[in-house]
Each structure stands twice: as C-alpha cells, then as structure tokens.
Symmetry: C2
Subunit: 110 residues, 2 copies
DNA sequence: CTGATGTTTAGCATCTTTGCTAAACATCTA
DNA sequence: TAGATGTTTAGCAAAGATGCTAAACATCAG
C-alpha cells in the first residue's frame, strides 16, 4: 500500500463521527468489541463494521482473548496518516513530534 | 454551530482526496476557482461543489475579484477543526501550537 | 455434546457523495 | 446592448456509506 493510499484510508475512516468516538474511547485503554458497542445506540454488527474500517486503515489492532476480541488504538498510525497532510497545509499551527512523521521516512506495512 | 458540528464538517471535508489536494494547493497562495479547476481532471462544476464543501467547513474563504472568485486557505480553522480530536487521541505525537486550540477556548462563528 | 455468550458475515434498504452535462448568473470588454 | 469569460446551480446516474435483522462462526461453561 502506498503512503498516499494509507493517508486516504485514514481520512476516510475519520470521516465518520462514530469511528472518531471509538478512537477517543480506545485512548482510555483496550476495549472488547462488545464493550465498545455498549457505548453507542447502534447495533453490534454496525459497530463491528466500523471496527473493520478502523482496522483496515490501520488505526486499531485486534487480538482474540478467549471469547472476546480486544481492540487497541494505534496512535502512531493516526499521527503518521494525518501527518504529511497537516505538515503540508498548516505546519505553523500543528507540529508532529518524535516518530510521528519524518519527510521521506518509510513506515512499516500492516 | 457547535464545536462538535464544526469538527464533523472539517473531517467530512477532509475525507475526499480532491479536497485535500485543493487545500494543499492553496497553501501556495490564493487561487481563483478556474485556476484550481485547471489542476484537476475534473469538470469545473464538480470543483465548484468541492469548493462549496470546503467553504461550508470553514476551511477556505472566498471573495469576488472582478470576473473571478478567489479562494483563500483558512489554516487556523483547519488546525482548530482537527485539533481537539488529535489532542484527545494522540497528544504524544501531535502538538498544537499557538492559536490552534486551547482547552475550552471559544472560536469565532463563521 | 449442548447451550450461552461474544462477534462477525450476509443481505437488504436508504441516504449521501461524486461525477457529468446543460443552463443560468455575474462581470468585463467592445 | 451583445458577446466572451468565469463561475455556480440544477438535475441526473452511478457508486459508496451506514443502518438494520437474521444467520453463521468461535469460544466458554456445564
């Protein structure tokens, strides 16, 4: 996947308010799919699809733990995904720190 | 318009790659609608609608200059729009500088 | 094995987005 | 005023996004 496609996927994923809220919730620590779904007035299958979009964009990772599937926020990927664009458009207002993004840097594949 | 709605509009506007490219192009300075359209393999009416979305999100401003309509990038609005979210989700990787966003700060209405 | 629990997949309906062309509107020039 | 140029609005078709329910899959507990 090219860097541009990765960026596109991230912005596409961030377009939906439910998905942005999921990412905010995951900032507080890992959550199981069901725990996430319980926080919204939306059916579990719909949340599952949102999680799939986030996973496809690389913004979360998942692992099975017994019965449940645990989702984890991938902060670096978020910073990487929006980083090039924000640096290009409003570098005076937003600064990317540390590993977030370096010009020409390679990022690992998912 | 609430702050949350403003944030939603900004992220929705950023979801489209053409609109992101328009913002990047405007970083180089003001451009007329026709000058912007000339940079894409997309019809002028379609570009006009993209510009309307960007304007609706507050990411650009427009002014008429004789025959033409000149679009200007609103960097602060972009930083403000994405700022709260990025601060909430990946504060370690992204730093907001100066007027970009302050907790509880009021932003002017459009 | 059976049933309960957690989660995803499949299929459908509806709304939104995005592209196009044709036409209208606005301004400049002659 | 008439025509040329720049831009937007209107209307349509195709593609995508998002919600739901029903059903399937995976794992745990008895």
């Amino acid at each position: 996947m090219t860097e541009a496609q990765q960026e596109a996927g991230v912005f596409r994923a961030l377009a939906d308010p439910t998905r942005r809220q999921i990412l905010e919730d995951l900032r507080g620590g890992e959550l199981a799919a069901g725990e996430i779904a319980a926080r919204f007035a939306i059916s579990a299958p719909s949340i599952s699809r949102h999680l799939g979009v986030l996973k496809g964009a690389g913004l979360v990772t998942e692992r099975r733990e017994g019965n449940r599937i645990i989702y984890t926020l991938a902060q670096d990927r978020l910073a990487t995904g929006v980083g090039r664009f924000l640096s290009a458009v409003c570098p005076e207002q937003i600064v990317l720190r540390r590993t977030a993004w370096r010009p020409g840097a390679r990022s690992e594949e998912s």
